[in-house]
Amino acid sequence: MRVEQIAVFLENKSGRLAEITSILAQNDINIRALSVADTADFGILRLIVDKVEKAKAALKQNGFTVGKTTVIAVEVPDRTGGLAGVLKVVEGAGLNVEYMYAFVNKTGEDAVLIFRFDEIDRAIEVLQGSGFTILTGEQICAL
């Protein structure tokens, strides 16, 4: 039920993102979802890829600081109020969202919400209990 995500530390300087994506391409790694969080001085790139360990090793080898964290992926129908419905449940359960981002799958019917919770097990329990579909890493890669 959990998805492994890799995170990369980025200084705010030009060309770094391009460098990362080309390293991944050279290693035949497919990016399924990504988000960049940034401050005035630095950024954090978060990626969900098909080959987590390989991606991590390749980036490390190229001198990047790479971390691995666990997130959960929630599938919701891609229509108005889809995200609001999930967040309402999250809020109701008193779960704390560290960050989130989203993408729409190829068919365009469903959206996938990536959440980082500090209480990941309880989050899975709460969301599943409310009828939401939680995707595994393999399922995301298969989308």
Partner: protein, 436 residues
Amino acid sequence: MKTLYWEEEIETLPRVGLESIQLIRLKNLVARVYRTVAPYRRKMEAAGVRPEDIQTLADLRKLPFTVKDDLRDNYPFGLFTVPMEEIVRVHASSGTTGKSTVVGYTQKDIETWANVMARALTCAGAHKGDIVHNAYGYGLFTGGLGAHYGVERLGATVIPVSGGNTKRQITIMKDFGSTVLLSTPSYALNLADAMDAVGVDPHSLSLRVGIFGAEPWSENMREEVERKLNLKAVDIYGLSEVMGPGVAMECLAADRGMHIFEDHFLPEVIDPDTGEVLPPGEKGELVFTTLTKEAFPIIRYRTKDISRLIYGQCSCGRTLVRMEKVTGRTDDMLIIRGVNVFPSQVEHVLMGVEGVEPHYQILVEREGNLDTMTIQVEVSETLFSDEIRVLENLSRKIQVEIKDLLGVTCKVKLVEPKTIQRSEGKAQRVIDKRKI
């Protein structure tokens, strides 16, 4: 211009007279220190030298040097020559590993200090009737109180305004009619800019002379301060281990260098690598021996300041030897906004933060008139988090600890691994982009 002296006889004494005073005082000092301070006695015994070996001023070089570590090893009061009940004041400077160096003064030392400081003020043309705006920091730092007592001894009026609160300082200058400014040169420039911002014309003030020290500054900076504040800028030298401000002072003739009050502070210039005394006029590390201090005399203290000694009478009439403006350091000490900072202190803080790798670099710049220090820290895997908040807290934690230990505000910049250049041999820890 009429030159005034505070103690004309000693300040214009021919060298031979001065040297005989120095010799008598030196012999007394060495005998007293040998008798009363065990660490000095041990060092002299190890070097095979006894007080009676000091028969001429040249014999000074037989004595071992004193270095900052000797002060630390005997922290806090181990090098004092008198019982604590004779000590009326202590001052301290920040230490490289959290241990500061402490100096003490007897009542007579305080009087000696006030007297040399009064000499220094007179050297800069200050006199009774002046309103002296003392913006050196008051506290453990010797600058504020050292200058303060000198102004009172001179008989002028001292405004103990200390550092900071710049707007208020300008109001005070205007309303009280400050005629003499004492501050670091960078703070003087800061004051000038603040005056500009609040629309106070320096020409409308009564400032006549500025006595600037506690950090290195250039001739360009002198020209800039003089122009912006409409005053004459002169240089003062001192360090707490020797006394505090008032060890040497530039006169208004400002030919070249600062007059060392050498009836109290005996200077030498040595080769920092070999420790050999250099011939007069050669550039090297300044070394001081205090001739009259009671509580905390110091023998051959290595200042790590690079300068040279200029003998020969100055056009102001003083015969006292002059030391050239300090042009550098033999160690890696940085002076940031008047605060002494050693890279090792920064390292000490960083190593105390879990996960910080020993790869860091200190970037010093001057923005406007203020020095800024940015510490670049490589983000290792143990330090890294996918949450912004965690990384920002890390930066803040380093900032707070640097401020706590060093008393200086810095910026922290997290950088990617391997971005800080690895050097072969000694790492380049400091990039100083200030043009001094």
